[in-house]
């Protein structure tokens, strides 16, 4: 059993640049989905302002880290970097709007973020083989 586990492990551990980029984008998708969920719930009054703003600020920091990670993995992932960067700027803006209790200002940002989220998911899909 130990050998089986170690074989599985060795099989899974050799992460190339492509896999690292995939993992980074998956974390960015996760952070964006968290922002969308918390933002929508805050607009409906389901979560306290302090929690919503704090979560968005944390996700903004997380996205900054993912941008740095993309830079260190590949200089060719220009499109992915651009999308994550756009999302990070939007999330930072949303956190400010929530802190200032501007519910109305949040709706258009949420709509824009949904669009960017969809693009990010598409960019992280495997390219179909011809």
């Amino acid at each position: 059993m130990v050998l089986v586990l170690l074989c599985l492990l060795m099989n899974g551990c050799a992460k190339g640049a492509e896999q690292k980029l995939k993992d980074t984008l998956r974390r960015a998708v996760s952070a964006t989905a968290t922002v969308l969920t918390v933002g929508e719930w805050w607009s409906k009054g389901l979560v306290p302002t302090a929690y919503a703003a704090g979560t968005l600020e944390r996700m903004s920091t997380e996205l900054e880290q993912e941008i740095a990670e993309i830079d260190s993995i590949s200089s060719a992932a220009v499109e992915q970097r651009l999308v994550v960067n756009t999302i990070q700027e939007m999330v930072a803006k949303m956190a400010t709007e929530i802190r200032q209790n501007h519910r109305a200002a949040l709706f258009p940002l949420l709509d824009q973020l949904k669009g960017q989220h969809t693009i990010l998911i598409t960019l992280n899909q495997p390219i179909p083989k011809q």
Partner: protein, 405 residues
């Protein structure tokens, strides 16, 4: 009637005390990334801990000694020091994670960064231990911990696909990201089979002055309490699989945990999560602190009891005071509490053989357990658990490196 009440209270205590930051975090990660496929890890961990808790309780009730005390006597001072160092360091790290959990709950409730809550949280833990008795800590905090039943109620209310939940109880190979799958499986088992849990339980048996007349009660409490506790962990995993996985949300931060209960209970769900996190971590932090103090006092032959006045047992009181300070310092270092939690759960799994191997010998030693020793079924189970512990010990560190990130 009195015994029935004791059984009920014991089960409630075990249920309330089972779920803590490690089991919540690892179950949520498992559900969010691998749907119901890791339910087997919770079930297996729960089964192992039922046997170990029952045996540690039986050992203490029959012999009037705790497991660490007997380890020092039977295996010698060197082995005890080895166990003490390993278990002490791991328990201290887990304590840091639990204090961090209390602080995160306070951050969620107030919006004030968790680091600021470190010393207030540590002070509350210390004050309850200093002023309270064993009963207050064991029963009081664990009763409050019943709030975590909200995870089971929530999982029931979302009507999960029960056939898939049942299939998840059978071990299966991952469809993707195998190293991460096994890392989470190991962490889930590390969260369930915590040595502090059964060592603390055996100290509790002595504190509550159980004898052989309590053996049946011990068995029912161990089986009932740990089973219900595992069901609560499964509740967390089911909620994560239903609500987080479809959105692609992985649990990377504690701030994502409220997403589990809000869809079911609305705004109340947020506060249920905050209360569950705060209370369970507070309870676990107190138990860990006491466990380190018990381990030290039992190993070095000092007087120990949480039921005595602190000044009457100054060395015991000093150890738990110092332990809390060290645990708080771990939080202040600035390690992300979730990363610390998952790391310590894996580390717990890696060090299991050191704590579990002595069971094989002590539970068959007539000088301690007389005619109440293990039967062949219990011995086979302990052998299997020991084998599992060795497997976990071998694979944990590589998995930590390749699957933990």
């Amino acid at each position: 009637m009195k015994k029935m009440l004791e059984i009920a209270l014991g089960i409630v205590t075990s249920v309330g005390g089972f779920l803590e930051i490690g089991s919540i975090a690892t179950a949520a990660q498992g559900g969010a990334e691998f749907s119901f496929r890791l339910i087997w890890a919770i079930a297996l961990g729960g089964l192992c801990v039922i046997f170990l808790v029952e045996q540690s309780g039986r050992f203490a009730a029959v012999s009037g000694r705790t497991i660490p005390d007997a380890i020092r006597e039977s295996f010698g001072a060197n082995y005890f020091l080895f166990l003490y160092l390993i278990l002490g360091v791991v328990s201290l790290l887990v304590l840091g994670a639990e204090i961090g959990g209390v602080c995160i709950a306070l951050e969620l409730a107030t919006g004030i960064a968790f680091q600021w809550w470190t010393f207030p949280a540590a002070f509350i833990i210390w004050l309850v231990i200093w002023k309270g008795t064993f009963g207050v800590i064991e029963k009081g905090v664990s009763m409050l911990g019943l709030i975590t039943l909200s995870f089971v109620v929530g999982a029931w209310m979302v009507h999960p696909p029960w056939s898939q939940v049942l299939v998840g109880a059978l071990p299966s190979l991952p469809s993707h990201d195998s190293s991460h799958y096994w890392f989470i499986a190991v962490s889930i088992m590390g969260a369930s089979i915590s040595p502090y849990l059964f060592f603390f339980y055996s100290s509790g048996v002595i504190e509550d002055e159980w004898d052989v007349s309590y053996l049946k009660i011990n068995r029912v409490i161990a089986a009932g309490g740990m089973t219900f506790g595992s069901v609560m962990s499964i509740g967390v995993l089911v909620l994560a699989a239903i609500y987080l996985l479809p959105k692609g949300i992985q649990v990377e931060h504690y701030t994502q945990l409220p997403l589990l209960l809000i869809p079911v209970f609305g705004r109340t769900g947020f506060w249920l999560l905050v209360a569950s996190l705060g209370i369970t971590c507070l309870g676990a932090a107190m138990e860990l602190t006491l466990e380190i103090a018990y381990l030290t006092a039992q190993g070095f032959g000092w007087n120990w009891s949480e039921n005595q006045r602190p000044l009457a047992e100054a060395r015991f009181s000093f150890i738990y005071t110092a332990t809390i300070i060290l645990g708080a310092l771990i939080v202040l270092i600035g390690i992300d509490p979730l990363k610390l939690t998952v790391f310590t759960m894996a580390l717990t799994a890696a060090t299991l053989p050191v704590s579990i191997v002595p069971f094989l010998f002590l539970m068959n030693d007539y000088n301690y357990v007389r005619t109440y020793g293990n039967g062949w079924v219990s011995n086979v189970v302990v052998l299997v658990i020991t084998g599992l512990a060795f497997v976990l010990a071998v694979v944990t560190i590589p998995l930590q490196i390749y699957g933990g990130g």
